[in-house]
């Protein structure tokens, strides 16, 4: 279509454009990534480094360079409240992980059974996710209140000895928090699971039916193992929420009764601002970070660093 190239072209390399230097290749992408790079380096890395560095100081109300070595950590790990916080987080985290997954998956599986009113059910299970933890905490604090909540109602039906008062018992309070946490978080996990289920090859179901494998068994032995990546996604999302657990506890129990429902994030906040012992707060948050990194780095490496896309 175009005319033949001009006749007087002597050699090939005359118009050759040199290989562009490395730094300038993909320049626009690099420019566009500046916010991400800044956030990653300055805010997350820088902020973290700053925090870790100050955890070795005797900072009080204001950050100060008064180096005290591992003093803050020693005190941290000898603090009863911190130990209880960690224990609570472990209990809550473990239960929350397992139960959120279980509930989320069960709901998704139920909804995936081609039922009527799927939209309505889905909305009902999902709406708590739209509410803040503060709201969730308040609502459940109230429902679990023995004087006018569930216990009171059941008693008013005539079952006088009925007792359901998780929030005022140090042994059970964390499970009271768990009830609210599950209520809020499982809907979102359900959506993720549902999306995952919808992605499963229809033929697998048919194959299982022809093989005579029951629905439950198909889920357990075939579908769930196939959804590994979905579970990993859900796991990461839930886990990141668990570590940050703070608002819910503050709104629902404020750490009480006593210190029996304290959690690490709350410890951090209280020591940073109320006790005005930044060093202690930073030491606690460094411990939290450390555990996050131990769990996460291998995962992130596998997920993002290792394999390359075509």
């Amino acid at each position: 279509m175009t005319p033949a190239p001009p006749t007087c072209r002597s050699g090939h390399s005359s118009a050759a454009r040199p290989r562009p230097p490395r730094a300038l290749r993909n320049l626009n992408a690099k420019i566009a990534s500046v916010p991400m790079i800044l956030t990653a380096l300055v805010v997350f890395m820088g902020g973290t480094a700053w925090t870790v560095a100050h955890s070795f100081t005797k900072s009080r109300l204001l950050p100060k360079w008064k180096f005290v070595g591992f003093d803050q950590y020693e005190r941290l790990w000898s603090s009863n409240r911190w130990l209880i916080s960690v224990e609570n987080l472990l209990i809550y985290g473990l239960c929350s992980l397992v139960l959120t997954m279980a509930i989320g998956f069960t709901l998704a599986a139920l909804l995936d059974r081609k039922i009527r009113f799927e939209g309505a059910f889905r909305t009902i299970f999902l709406y708590p996710f739209a509410l803040s933890f503060v709201v969730t905490g308040l609502a459940w604090q109230w429902i679990l209140n023995p004087d006018f909540g569930i216990q009171n109602v059941v008693r008013s039906w005539g079952w006088e000895s009925f007792a359901f008062d998780p929030l005022n018992n140090p042994e059970t309070v964390i499970f009271g928090v768990l009830i609210a946490g599950l209520w809020q978080g499982s809907g979102f996990v359900m959506v993720i699971m549902l999306a995952g289920l919808r992605g499963i090859d229809e033929d697998i179901w048919k194959a299982a039916r022809v093989d005579g494998i029951g629905v439950t068994k198909t889920y357990v032995r075939v579908i769930i193992p196939m959804m590994r990546p979905v579970f990993v996604t859900a796991l990461v999302i839930i886990a990141s929420g668990i570590i940050k657990l703070y608002d819910l506890v503050v709104a629902q129990t404020n750490g009480g009764p006593g210190i029996s429902s304290e959690v690490p994030a709350k410890y951090v906040i209280n020591y940073m601002f109320e006790a005005q012992n930044l060093g202690q707060g930073f030491a606690a948050s460094t411990m939290m970070l450390l555990s996050v990194i131990i769990i996460l780095v291998p995962w992130a490496y596998l997920e993002f660093g290792g394999k390359k896309r075509g």
């Binding site: 033929d203 048919k206 194959a207 039916r209 022809v210 093989d211 005579g212 494998i213 193992p225 196939m226």
Partner: protein, 361 residues
């Protein structure tokens, strides 16, 4: 009815998806050990029919018998059928061995029996070295074999295949086609096979059912389908390049179309001679050229428009007046666009159709 039953019988099968009727009063008898291929263009209801037979879809009306048992309401696993899917639907997290044995374990067969059957299937399909691998570590062809193996171990009467080769590349497809054919000769089970690949259908089938819009258009042997299509749809559908279809009129046993006049004396009419409007169908390879032209009942000269050399054959697109003609010639032929070519018609191998009913004359 005799005591001798068909392997699969389908009676007056109807299937709706909501408003949409996908299968219409469909009847089909399949013999013991027969290899039946369901062929049709996309969306004609092939998979739907197969799923009805398997019990994976609840039918709207009609009955289904397998080995003489009414299985209309039976569960898929109780029908004595096995199914191989297009995507194979292997359980990805289980080894090949577990894939094969999973159904049996579920049916609570004794361990030694399971081991025996798995070993047997692995032997038949030559997948013994793969037993410990997971599906992800298998090639397409190997996966396909495992999928068949999963059906094999269950000792079923009827094998159902839904386009089991269409995900593979051409070479592998050709190889596996041959293997499948051998397997059928060895096992002699009834097999129902869905495809939209004509080559597969022609090579594999004992009988082919050509479907269109939820109805069976013709159910015959591949040879019959190819050489004696029962209606225009089948005629146009089967064969690549497609049959040349020329509209004209049949007067006193001679077919006239434009300047063409083909004496149809040697034509084998279905219901005796016919007069009036007709469509003649002639396959590209039944248009004779070169020395063979002596065998022709009539000849004509055409203008070559385009030539495609396939190596083994040469396809020639030519025109005769306003009429486009496709010819298949020998791979060694040296024709090129613009040439004028003398061709001959072998009317005995042609087909005639009524343009109104579209049925074969």
């Amino acid at each position: 009815m005799t005591l001798m039953t068909h392997s699969v019988e389908i009676r007056d099968l109807d299937l709706h998806f909501g408003e949409l009727q996908v299968l219409h009063q469909l009847n089909l008898d399949i013999e013991q050990g027969e290899f039946l291929v369901l062929l049709g263009s996309s969306g004609c209801g092939k998979s739907t029919l197969l799923n009805c037979i398997a019990g994976l879809l609840d039918i709207s009306d009609g009955q289904i018998f397998i080995q003489g048992q009414n299985v209309t309401w039976a569960e898929p696993s109780e029908r004595g059928i096995g199914m191989v899917f297009q995507s194979y639907a292997l359980y990805p997290q289980m080894t090949v061995e577990r894939n094969l044995s999973f159904g049996l374990k579920n049916a609570r067969l004794p361990k030694p029996e399971i081991a025996k059957r798995v070993a047997r299937a692995a032997e038949v399909l030559q997948i013994e070295p793969l037993l410990k691998r997971k599906p992800a570590a298998l090639s397409g062809g190997q996966r396909q074999r495992v999928a068949i193996g999963r059906t094999l171990v269950r000792d079923v009467d009827v094998f159902l295949f839904d386009e089991p080769l269409s995900n593979l590349d051409a070479k592998l497809r050709a190889d596996l086609r041959v293997e499948l054919k051998r397997l059928h000769q060895q096992l002699a089970n009834t097999m129902i096979y869905v495809t939209h690949d004509q080559v597969e259908a022609m090579t594999l089938a004992d009988r082919i059912a050509i479907m269109k819009g939820g109805r069976i258009m013709q159910l015959s042997s591949p040879d019959e389908i190819y050489n004696r299509p029962q209606n225009l749809y089948v005629a146009g559908f089967i064969g690549s390049p497609a049959m040349n279809l020329i509209e004209g009129v049949l007067i006193d046993g001679v077919f006239h179309a434009g300047s063409l006049a083909l004496p149809m004396q040697r034509y084998d009419y279905r219901n005796g001679p016919h007069h009036g409007a007709a469509v003649i169908g002639i396959r590209p390879e039944h248009i004779l050229t070169g020395e063979q032209i002596t065998r022709a009942d009539a000849t004509a000269e055409v203008l070559v428009d385009l030539v495609e050399g396939l190596g083994s054959d040469t396809l020639v697109y030519a025109t005769h007046g306003a009429q486009n003609l496709r010819l298949r010639m020998d791979g060694a032929s040296r024709v090129s666009a613009g040439d004028r070519l003398r061709i001959g018609f072998d009317t005995a191998r042609a087909s005639l159709f009524d343009p109104n009913t579209e049925a074969r004359l």
